[in-house]
């Protein structure tokens, strides 16, 4: 582990409330370069909200977030310029249904990075090739399987050259037989040195791909450690209960 290098993502004292409901109650988290950090926890524990705060799709109520040393909350920060540095993959894919796979990937390349059409399409095609879907470039989302849609969504984030990628339950909406193709792409990203923060229920994947596993409950980080520590010898009672529950 290269812990002497500065973290890509640094979260300090992060809080988020919706009205009276406190969803995040002071989260401290660092993700180091090339690290794959896995977040697990019962539903409603605040995992997704944490992820969505990391690119300010949700506006945090308090605390600080920095990406690659840039304070995300600072007034002077151009959030849209930062967001392309933070790739995000959603549970429900959220592909644009009126655009082809290529169009989905190329849109931000053209409108955010200002690339010319031909250049954007070449980059988009390369990104689609990385997720193994170059031949589906002209297909529309409705013509793709769930697994293919999610891989296009990964390509869409990947094409912008992100420093870190956030995965919000990327396989939860998929039929079981399609999960593997998405996990394979994620493994390849990991092997290629991508920094990743993943919320997911794929415990087997966590076990063999994650560098670190974080267990969250009720808006707090309860316990963190290597996959081995968390899955085989959790210290906290709540973690033990959760691991026992999912192991059944």
């Amino acid at each position: 582990m290269t812990s002497n290098r500065p973290p890509i993502l640094e979260v300090r004292g992060l809080r988020k409330s919706f009205g009276h409901l406190e969803v995040l109650r002071g989260i401290d988290l660092e993700v180091l370069p090339q690290e794959l950090v896995f977040i697990i926890g019962p539903s409603g524990s605040g995992k997704s909200t944490l992820l969505r705060c990391c690119n300010r799709l949700e506006e945090p109520t308090g605390g600080s977030i920095s990406i690659d040393g840039v304070d995300l909350m600072a007034r002077s920060t151009d959030i849209n310029a930062m967001r392309r540095r933070i790739g995000m993959v959603f549970q429900s894919f959220n592909l644009y249904p009126h655009m082809s796979a290529l169009g989905n990937v190329a849109l931000a390349l053209r409108r955010v990075l200002g690339r010319k059409r031909t250049e954007a399409e070449a980059l988009a095609l390369a990104a689609l090739a990385r997720v193994g879907l170059a031949e589906k470039a002209n297909a529309y989302p409705a013509e793709l399987s769930g697994g293919q849609q999610q891989r296009v969504a990964i390509a869409r984030a990947l094409a912008l050259g992100p420093k870190i990628m956030l995965f919000d339950e990327p396989t939860s909406a998929l039929d079981p037989e399609l999960v593997g193709s998405v996990l394979k792409v994620m493994r390849e990203l990991k092997a290629g040195g991508m920094t990743m923060l993943v919320v997911s229920h794929e415990m087997r994947f966590a076990r063999d791909a994650a560098d670190r596993v974080i267990f969250m409950d009720h808006g707090l980080i309860v316990e963190e450690g290597t996959p081995e520590q968390i899955f085989s010898g959790p210290r906290e009672v709540r973690t033990q209960a959760f691991i026992a529950e999912i192991a059944r």
């Binding site: 969505r52 690119n55 799709l57 849209n80 310029a81 930062m82 967001r83 392309r84 933070i86 790739g87 995000m88 959603f90 429900s92 959220n94 592909l95 644009y96 249904p97 009126h98 849109l107 931000a108 409108r111 955010v112 969504a153 869409r156 984030a157 912008l160």
Partner: protein, 221 residues
């Protein structure tokens, strides 16, 4: 029966009135080219206002929409054409029609766009924003194209209503299709020119009405 045919379907009179009616049709088409784009653009602005973040802005947009939906378009038109001169604003019939219909049509188109924008899932905004698109870009490239497609039948059927509405311009003496037909009627003392005008409206609008019915049925199923 003979009287009925003579009164409504006198082809000789129709033939004589046709050139006048075609000139009127030209005016009707010009009117449509002015009024429809104005309504489509005005409606979009209204929709964006009614989706604004500030509650006060949203509320005033809704109030304005409701106000103009409560007033018959003919009343608006006459108010603009015959009322505003008392405030020193004298408008040509075309300008009066354009303004009155802009107010009326923007409210209707606006509600349709709003429904369309609301029908696009929030995930689309999330995805667009997460790749760094600005809110305006997300609206233009991601949300609006889907919104328009979702409410296309409503947009088209409202446009049919707008075309029908142009017949009201005859009341302020704008020589469009119905005005020309009514003029021909008053000269010939025969209703056939109005039947001919009705026929022209049908040729223009019936196919669109059919199309909308089919589109609606396809979306409903």
């Amino acid at each position: 029966m003979q009287a009925l045919l003579q009164q409504f379907f006198d082809f000789a009179i129709m033939a004589r009135a046709l050139p006048l009616l075609l000139t009127g049709l030209g005016q009707t088409l010009v009117l449509c080219l002015v009024v429809i784009p104005l309504g489509l653009i005005g409606g979009l602005l209204v929709a964006l206002t009614s989706l604004a973040r500030s509650r006060a802005v949203r509320w005033s947009a809704a109030a304005a929409i409701d106000f103009f939906r409560a007033i018959p378009p003919l009343v608006l038109l006459i108010f603009v054409y015959a009322g505003l001169p008392f405030a020193g604003i004298r408008l040509s019939p075309l300008a009066a029609v354009a303004i009155a219909f802009l107010l009326n049509n923007s409210s209707y188109y606006g509600e349709i766009y709003r429904a369309g924008i609301e029908s696009v899932g929030h995930g689309q905004w999330d995805a667009a924003r997460s790749t760094g698109l600005k809110a305006r870009q997300a609206l233009i490239y991601v949300v609006l194209p889907q919104a328009v497609r979702n409410v296309l039948p409503d947009l088209i059927s409202n446009t049919v209503e707008v075309v029908k509405l142009t017949s009201l311009a005859s009341v302020v003496a704008l020589p469009e299709l119905l005005y020309s037909a009514d003029m021909a009627r008053s000269i010939t003392f025969n209703t056939s020119p109005i039947v001919l005008a009705a026929g022209i409206y049908l040729v223009m609008l019936w196919p669109i009405v059919r199309l909308v019915s089919r589109l609606e049925r396809r979306i409903a199923s």
